[in-house]
Every structure is written in C-alpha cells, then in structure tokens.
C-alpha cells in the first residue's frame, strides 16, 4: 500500500514508487495524496496489505506520523511492515537524528530524501524474505 500522509499533496515521488513496485511484481494499492493516517489503517484492513509505504514531503510528517504504528496495533495489525520516506521534518536537520525519531515512532524503516525506488524495492524484498525466516526485518 502506498500513500502520502496528512494534508500533503506531493504525489509525484509516491506515484513513481508505486509504478516501480508494480514493475517489481508487487500488487499495489495506491491511496494517493492527502491521506489521513486512519485511511491507511482502513485500507490495510480492507485489502489485507503486507506493507505500508508512507511518503511525506511537506515538513509536517513528524506531526502526522505520531501514533501511526499504534493505530495499526489497535486494529490488530501488529506485524504489518511500515516504511516512511521523504522530507520528514521542517527544515534541514541531521538525518541520523531524524531516522532515530521515526524508528522510535514504530516505523520499520525510514528513508532520507533522494532515495531511489530501487533501494526501496530491494529493502522490501529483503524484509519479506526475513519474515519468512521469522525475523521482523532483514539485518
């Protein structure tokens, strides 16, 4: 499942990611721009999604993503894989610090700006393979 969270309209990167995931053989449910956190959860339940790819480009991702993992846990989807990527905070901040903040919020992976779709597809394949082995994500 892909989508841009919150009140954010930056759809281009997320759409290109959706195109790349389809090309890599995944079945993609694209929720598009301006998707409230709750809608990701609703759609995940309806479609029995295995992974959620959240984009945020406009700086307010930190507010929008708070409690995102908890919504899935409350819905009984404890194990769903959740990635986030984009320009996640307001302004130019140190990436390792931003990554730590988002991992602490319960995201399985956070991707910095300028990530190419190949990297995401590779990580996703590795994580699905690791899951088959009983791990949460690949090392």
């Amino acid at each position: 499942m892909t989508g841009v969270i919150g009140a954010d309209t930056h759809i281009v990167g997320n759409r290109i990611l959706s195109m790349a995931l389809e090309e890599a053989g995944f079945e993609v449910i694209a929720l598009g721009a301006i998707t409230p956190a709750e809608d990701f959860v609703k759609a995940a339940i309806e479609t029995d999604a295995d992974a959620v790819m959240v984009s945020s480009l406009y700086g307010q991702g930190e507010l929008d993503c708070r409690g995102f993992r908890d919504l899935f846990i409350e819905a009984g989807l404890d194990d769903i894989l959740i990635y986030v990527g984009g320009n996640l905070v307001v302004g130019k901040q140190d990436w390792p610090d931003v990554e730590r903040r988002f991992l602490a919020m319960g995201f399985d992976r956070a991707f910095p700006p300028n990530t190419r779709t190949d990297d995401v597809v590779e990580k996703l394949n590795a994580d699905f393979a690791a899951r088959a082995e009983g791990q949460r994500i690949a090392e």
Binding site: I11, R15, A33, G91, K92, P113, N114
Partner: protein, 496 residues
C-alpha cells in the same frame, strides 16, 4: 476534510458570471462564522487600514510600477508556525534579503481548513521551540494579530496558501492588510487537492475574486495571482498558459483588475522567455475577446519548481540562473528558492541568501532581451499553436462559458494536468525534457493538440532518447522528474 463550497452556493447557478450581491453577502456571513476569528473581520475598518498604507506597501500598485519601469522584483516564500518566528522571518527577508515583496506562507492544516489541528501545531511549536508547522496559521491568529506582520515590514505582503479553500484565509489576510493573494480555482484544485470537485474549487476562488472586487469597489486595488506552476513537475509552458487564461477569465468575471500570472521556469532560457511573452499576450487576447479590456496581467517567473539538487553549489547555480532567466525574459517579478530547497523549508538566513543571489543576477541581466532571436520567435509561435486549440475547445464545450467549459473539459480529459493528485483529473498527459533542455509533451492523453505540433514534440524527444540510448517512452518522463536533482558527476562527468 472540509472545503466543499457552502450549501447556500447551490442557490447561485454555476457560471463565469459574477456572484450576485445577495448570494455573496449570505455566503460571506456563513464563511466568517466558521472560526471564532472570523468575527474580527470588519470590512469598513479593513478598508480604512488599506487606505492608510503607503502605495509602496500595496502590491497591486507595486506590480504596476515595476511593469512600467521594466523592473524585475524579487519575492521569496516563507512561513513559520508562531507569530514570533514569522515576525522575525519577515523582517529578515525585508531587511537582509532586500525582498521587494514579502510573503506569508500558511501551514498545510490551515490551507486544508483544519484549523483545530493548526491551533494544536502552534502549541507544539511553542513547546518545542521550533516550528512544527510548515507555515503561518493565519486563521488561528486572526486579522488583528496577523496585522502585526504587515506593520513589521516596509514592503507589500502577499498570502501564499497553496490549496483550493481560500475563503476564510482570504478574508482574514485582506482584513489584516495583505495586498496580494496567490491561488486560483483551476490551478490549485488540480494540483493541491485530491477529492475536491473542479466545480467546488472554481466556486471557492470565485468567492475570493468577488471579495477582491468588493475591495476594488471601495477604491482599494489588490493583487490576485494565478499559480501556473501547477504540480511543479515539468509543466510545459502551453499547459501552464492554458490554466492562466482560464483562471484569468474567471477572475476578471468576478471583477478582478490586477491579476498576476505565474510560470515555473523550464530552465531553458529561450523557452522561458518565449513562455513569459506568450503568456501575457495570450491571456490578454482571451480577456479582450471576453470584453475585459482593463485587466493588468503581469507575469511572475518562478525558480525551478521540481526536485532540487542536494549539493549547495549546484543549488546556488539554479538560484542565480533563475534570476537571469526571469530578468532576461522580462518577468515583472521572480519568486525565489534557496540552497536548502532539496531539504525542505529554508532557514531565514538561507532564504535571504537566495534573494540576494537572485538580485545580483537580475542586476547583471540589465536590459538584455531575446525578442529578436529566431529561436525565440519560433518557440513563442509554437506555444500559441499549442494553447489556442485547447482553450478554444474548453470555451466551445462550455457554450462560451469558461467555468462550465472547464468542468466539462476536465471530465473529458480535454484539459489535463501532469502528475495531478486530484482524482477527477485524468493526468494522462506526460511531459519530458528534450535533447536541448526544453519541456515537451511525451504523451498528450486526450488533450486536443494539433498533429503538426505533436510531431515537433515527438521529434525533439526522440532525439533525446537516441542521444541517451534509452527507449522512447515513459522512462523519459520519469528520468526527467529527477534530472535536475542528479549529482554533477551524473549530469556532467569530467571529460576524458
């Protein structure tokens, strides 16, 4: 999400004609009641405040003067989540950045009319000691407090609020003393919203344009502006200009007399210059044809609106070159970015730096113009041949009405926007950059471009595919999205 036109709007039939006085008065009362600060809006008091402003703080007058004098003004973007941060930002842009026009960007919650969330964002920003919002929550602060921003600077100020719900932000902004407001029904509904209908988006901006006309009738000219940059992703000039014409017709229909047109830079010097000239001429052509003979339509050029490089040096080149492009093309103003663009919202220092670099480039461009170049004439002629068939089709299927024609043309895909987030836009048209660096149409979708025009586009794009040894197809469109953000090592590896 809210944002649909109010229920009482149903009483006023949808068209490009002015909203009737009584319908507008009823809508205005309902609109101002939507948030407590709406009660602070007092039009007579606002008129008095505007009359008290010197003309160099009125953007409509400042744009007219710059156009008459052949100047290119500078304007950044910028907004933070608290009054204190926003005051500091605007002072810095005014004094250190030498901005000719000072902006206030609203945060995305405000833009989407989620004022309760914006209110919480103010508290979070105050607690964190940094802005947690990506702009200034103008509606939450209300017109009286927001006016302190206007009083803190000695320049005209413009509201930048990128979405299709401008009705309350517009009332508050104008009442606070802002003299400019960026946004339009077609451009923003197709570029910043997902579920809002095109009709509701057009209605929302007809409200703002009608409000602008109310100020005009009181002797206060305000500057409205159309954001032709659309989704900011490789928009070819012809598509931008089609939206400029339609939005200008709709604004003029409500009584707007000072209407700016924005074009995102393609980064090809000749194509940008041709686009800026063609835009003003074509908009005037259609305004005149519709009987609007006294609308002032200056063009603003925007620094690159797509993905930016992370490297400071590369970004600095885009900033300075963007000043050159705007000045040489004869734009009346340029909207600037900074070396922080790839990372998101710039610090006030970086923002001011972008303004100064642009200003130096404008100075160096002096009076250099490209009008006499054969390439310029050819490109400008091509733009006209692209734009007229689309606009004529929109008007035709609207039985002459621009508003109705727009809704029908979007439904049919005759009017289409690349990379649009709005579900009612087909977004089948796909642009890409050609071998020379001009933006062209790779796939027209259902837009009725003439065959000979599309043949020119295809030939140029095939040249690029051959040169880069890639297939002629969608990968050209995708690689064009990222091209400008690639590293220099990729774009131009050392020779030998």
């Amino acid at each position: 999400m809210s944002g649909a036109a109010p229920a009482e709007a149903a009483r006023w039939p949808f068209s490009a004609a002015p909203i009737p006085d009584d319908a507008f008065a009823a809508m205005q009362r309902a609109n101002l009641a939507r948030w407590p600060t709406g009660a602070e809006v007092d039009l007579e008091e606002a008129f008095d405040f505007h009359r008290s402003l010197p003309s160099h703080k009125n953007l409509a007058a400042v744009m007219r003067r710059a156009d008459a004098e052949g100047r290119c003004l500078t304007q950044p973007r910028g907004g933070f989540g608290t009054l204190e941060l926003q005051l500091a930002l605007m002072r810095q842009l005014d004094r250190e950045g030498l901005a000719d026009i000072v902006p206030t960007t609203t945060d995305s919650y405000t833009r989407n009319e989620q004022w309760d969330r914006a209110e919480a964002g103010i508290a979070e920003s105050e607690a964190a000691g940094r802005s947690m919002l990506n702009g200034f929550p103008m509606v939450c602060y209300g017109p009286k407090t927001t006016r302190r921003l206007i009083e803190a600077i000695d320049k005209p100020a413009i509201v930048l609020s990128g979405t299709s719900m401008p009705r309350l932000t517009g009332e508050i902004g104008f009442a606070a003393g802002f003299t400019g407001y960026l946004g339009s029904g077609l451009a923003y509904t197709t570029s910043y919203t997902k579920d809002l209908s095109i009709e509701d988006g057009l209605r929302n901006y007809q409200y703002l344009d009608r409000l602008t006309a109310v100020y005009q009738a009181a002797g206060i000219e305000l500057h409205r502006r159309q954001p032709g940059f659309l989704t900011g992703t490789n928009i070819p000039p012809c598509i931008a200009i089609v939206t400029c014409i339609i939005d200008a017709l709709l604004a003029a229909g409500q009584g707007v007399r000072n209407y700016g047109l924005e074009l995102g830079q393609t980064l090809h010097l000749v194509q940008d210059a041709a686009a800026i000239h063609a835009c003003r001429e074509l908009v005037q052509e259609y305004l005149q044809r519709a009987g609007h003979h006294d609308v002032f339509t200056p063009v603003t050029s925007l620094h690159w609106m797509g993905a930016w490089p992370y490297d400071d040096a590369q970004a600095a080149a885009l900033v300075a070159y963007g000043g050159t492009l705007a000045a040489v093309a004869g734009a009346v103003s340029v909207t600037t970015k900074s070396t922080h663009e790839a990372y998101g919202i710039p610090t006030p220092e970086a923002n001011a730096h972008g303004l100064r670099a642009t200003r130096m480039a404008i100075y160096l461009a002096r009076r250099i113009r490209l009008d006499t170049l054969p390439d310029f004439q050819q490109e400008k002629d091509l733009i006209g041949r692209e734009v007229r068939p689309i606009v004529d089709k929109v008007l035709e299927i609207g039985d002459g009405d621009a508003a109705i024609g727009t809704v029908r043309a979007c439904e049919a895909g005759l009017l289409d926007i690349p990379w649009s987030p709005n579900r009612q836009i087909k977004s089948r048209v796909l642009p890409a950059r050609d071998a020379d660096g001009c933006l062209r149409i790779l796939e027209p979708g259902d837009m009725p471009f003439p065959k000979d025009v599309l043949a020119v586009h295809e030939e140029q794009l095939r040249r690029r595919a051959e040169r880069d040894k890639v297939d002629f197809g969608r990968d050209l469109a995708v690689s064009s999205v990222y091209e400008i953000s690639e590293t220099l090592e990729t774009l131009m590896p050392p020779a030998g």
